[in-house]
């Protein structure tokens, strides 16, 4: 506990001789040991408390001696070992922690009743309003999703907003806060902004009404030229290079920069946004837009990649910008693609071309959507055997930039899950039915606003069937792998449904969190009833949903297998289980080989155009190999080949073990 005292007359005299000013010297308190010469040209206004000075402090990598030079301090408390120099206007109504450096800064001020960005309403997804998300520091992708997308449950939304308003009131203050070890350098103006531990603000232009969350394990950086109003920025995010944020939330581990302009937008874990423009966007985890000329507007995205010049529009009609769209997890838009809202694209799909049709392709995941002669065509399931899908699924978990004990956005990374499998089952059923009902004379069929070439109906269904069967088989083998040496009874025990888990049913994607619909319904009911009464309890419940995934997933597998093959898993014998392994080898092996084939296209003749400039055909190949490498040595190819070999070996071992169970099913 630090003891503070008033200045002595001698100290006041010395401070005056050093260019310091105060109308009321008696309102200044200092900590011992106090060395007056460490304050020069300081103007004191109101109540000012200064901690210990004189020790070393790091400022932009250079060790300096804590001191205060050339600054106006108005109703400010300053912690120990701070370095404050050249504050052009003043610092007013702030509590500053220890070892803080504030240099070359125009104005830092907190107004009475400030909420530091909390309580800001972000008009996400629908630019014309109606899906507002209230900000608070602990906002997660899941809560944002519930607020924005579940407007058909007004009681839920009202309860959530009530909780958030209560949280906002705990933040409301007449004083701002700059926590320990913060660097604030070259900031023109900072008004009503709270800054968390160890954050670095180097060169932002203007920050107003916001919170910069940060801690020692997850340092947040706000860089040059940034203009941000009405914002919250999460830990370990980087916002820099002239980015403009107006009424935005930036979650943990994000990178925002290169003159990106965003308004009324939410960016959750590990999003990246450079160069383009975002308006009324709910960007779930791992949404990425890197390029100029890209406009993301009025949309819900996650695990998304925007090709350069991706564009969409939300107001082709006269009633204003009222339309909205959804690109479900894993989807991508190709360069200069265009989508007209309202539309929905299913998970892990690719959109190419200028799409002028409004379509809903939720039941056709892993598809290609392209434009021919001005019309949108879907190739269902085409993206199941592409390199891109495999690489995407692998990259996200290893690119989690979040650090520290609290990772707010709950994320399931699985490409294949009850969510996507459920969609494939629906797609398979619908395509099969369409194929059966469509005459051969018909070249193309309509599907929810888009077109499908009739010839692709059966093939699309086949792709889905193959993928679903591969997933089921792998889940079953994974399930009993731990007990392969323990006999049939042990295997059957493992294959039973989990009585404590959710029953099999449709799954939903809560902006990164995959959950059985019943569990979501229970959460919603509990919020509406008040039994989940505050944001902490809500976060705890969501975390429990996240943890429930493996058990609920297993019950889904059991139910789908039963329905699909008319077989109860826990009644299988060794031969039946060997059949499961054969199914995996057939389906997944085929997938892997087709993916290898897809990878091979990158090394085909058509990929070598332009190589070997000024040289001979032989030089072309040599040039290509030098720049791109060879198929045989490519790391992705080698990885796929290893997976294929491992799959074959696994299946062989598995079959040997289960066939050794020996027992046959009676009858």
């Amino acid at each position: 506990m630090t003891d503070y005292r008033r200045l002595t007359e001698a100290e006041i005299g010395q401070l005056i001789s050093q260019g310091c000013l105060a109308n009321e010297w008696h309102r200044i308190e200092v900590a011992e040991p106090f060395e007056p010469y460490r304050l020069r040209h300081v103007h004191f206004l109101g109540d000012v408390r200064i901690g210990r000075l004189g020790r070393a402090v790091e400022v932009e990598g250079v060790t300096k001696t804590s001191s205060i030079f050339s600054a106006s301090l108005c109703n400010v408390t300053i912690g120990h070992d701070c370095y404050i120099k050249h504050v052009g206007v003043h610092i007013a109504n702030y509590d500053i922690g220890d070892r803080v450096a504030i240099v070359n800064t125009g104005l830092i001020v907190a107004d009475p009743g400030a909420t530091f960005g909390a309580g800001t309403e972000v008009e996400a997804v629908n630019e014309a309003g109606g899906r507002g998300v209230l900000l608070y520091p602990e906002l997660s992708a899941q809560v944002a999703h519930l607020l924005a997308m579940h407007r058909y449950r007004p009681d839920l939304v009202a309860r959530l907003e009530e909780m958030i308003h209560r949280r906002v009131e705990t933040i409301r203050s007449d004083r701002g806060r700059i926590d320990d070890d913060v660097e604030i350098l070259d900031v023109s103006e900072m008004r009503n902004v709270n800054v968390g531990t160890a954050a670095r603000l180097v060169g932002p232009e203007f920050l107003k009404n916001g919170t910069v969350l940060s801690d020692a394990e997850a340092v947040t950086f706000i860089g040059s030229g940034v203009v941000a109003r009405n914002f919250i920025i999460g830990e370990r995010s980087i916002v820099t290079q002239g980015a403009i944020l107006d009424t935005c939330f930036v979650g943990q581990g994000c990178k925002i920069g290169k003159q990106l302009s965003a308004e009324n937008s939410l960016f959750f874990a590990n999003c990246e946004a450079f160069h383009g423009e975002c308006v009324s966007v709910l960007a779930g985890p791992y949404s990425v837009t890197h390029h100029k000329s890209t406009l993301l507007i009025a949309g819900h995205f996650s695990f998304y990649n925007a090709g350069s010049g991706s564009n969409m529009s939300n107001h082709m009609y006269k009633l204003g910008p009222v339309h909205q769209g959804i690109l479900e997890r894993g989807s991508k838009t190709g360069s200069f693609s265009y989508l007209i809202w309202p539309s929905r694209v299913g998970p892990f799909s690719v959109v190419i071309g200028k799409n002028m049709a409004n379509f809903d392709l939720a039941d056709l995941p892993f598809s290609y959507v392209e434009v021919k002669e001005g019309r949108s065509y879907v190739t269902p399931g085409f993206n199941l055997q592409t390199v891109g899908t495999v690489r995407d699924g692998a990259k996200w978990p290893v690119r989690d930039r979040r650090r520290g004990p609290v990772k707010r956005d709950l994320i399931h990374f699985q490409v294949f899950s009850p969510f996507t499998v459920g969609r494939m089952l629906r797609g398979e059923a619908r395509l099969t039915k369409l194929a059966a009902e469509t005459d051969r004379s018909v070249e193309e069929v309509a599907f929810e606003g888009a077109l499908i070439r009739r010839l692709l109906l059966k093939r699309g269904a086949k792709y889905y069937r193959n993928a679903v069967n591969a997933w089921l088989a792998e889940q079953i083998m994974d399930r009993i792998d731990p007990v392969l040496d323990d006999g049939l009874d042990a295997a059957r025990q493992r294959l039973k449904p989990d009585a404590a888990a959710a029953g099999a049913q449709e799954w939903v994607d809560l902006c990164g969190l995959l959950v059985a619909r019943d569990r979501l319904a229970s959460l919603v009911d509990d919020v509406e009833a008040g039994s989940i009464g505050d944001l902490e309890a809500l976060a705890d419940r969501l975390a429990a949903l996240h943890a429930a995934y493996p058990r609920d997933e297993w019950n889904y597998v059991v139910a789908v297998w039963q329905e699909r093959f008319g077989q109860a898993l826990h009644e299988m014998d060794g031969e039946a289980l060997a059949g499961v392994a054969d199914l995996l080898l057939t389906t997944r092996g085929k997938d892997l080989r087709m993916i290898l084939n897809d990878a091979g296209k990158e090394f085909a003749v058509t990929s070598r155009l332009g190589f070997g400039a000024d040289g001979s055909p032989e030089d072309c190949d040599a040039d290509f190999d030098a720049v791109r490498g060879t198929f045989e040595t490519n790391s992705f190819v080698l990885d796929m080949q290893q997976k294929l070999a491992a799959l074959e070996q696994r299946v062989e071992v598995f079959k040997t073990r289960v066939l050794a169970f020996g027992e046959k099913v009676p009858g």
Binding site: R453, L456, K458, R459, K590, N597
Partner: protein, 80 residues
């Protein structure tokens, strides 16, 4: 000698799908370089051939059929 009807029908399916003149569909014609076939059309071609001959085609087996001649040879083999 293999059934030329299979060959002729295969070439016709290719020509119709890729919207090229039948004369261009020679055995030496490369699907991508000479006939401009896109990846998605490759899938459609398999489906069209399946329907034409009422057979099931393994995509994996046809993945390396980069010319018309290779495709014809394959179809002649599985249709017989």
């Amino acid at each position: 000698m293999a059934d030329s009807t299979v060959a002729a029908r295969t070439r016709q399916v290719i020509a119709d799908l890729l919207k090229v003149h039948l004369d261009a569909v020679t055995d030496e014609a490369h699907f991508v370089r000479d006939l401009g076939m896109e990846s998605i059309q490759q899938v459609e071609l398999l489906a069209a051939l399946e329907e034409e001959f009422d057979v099931e085609i393994d995509e994996e087996e046809t993945a390396q059929n980069v010319t018309v001649g290779m495709a014809v040879e394959y179809m002649e083999k599985i249709v017989e």
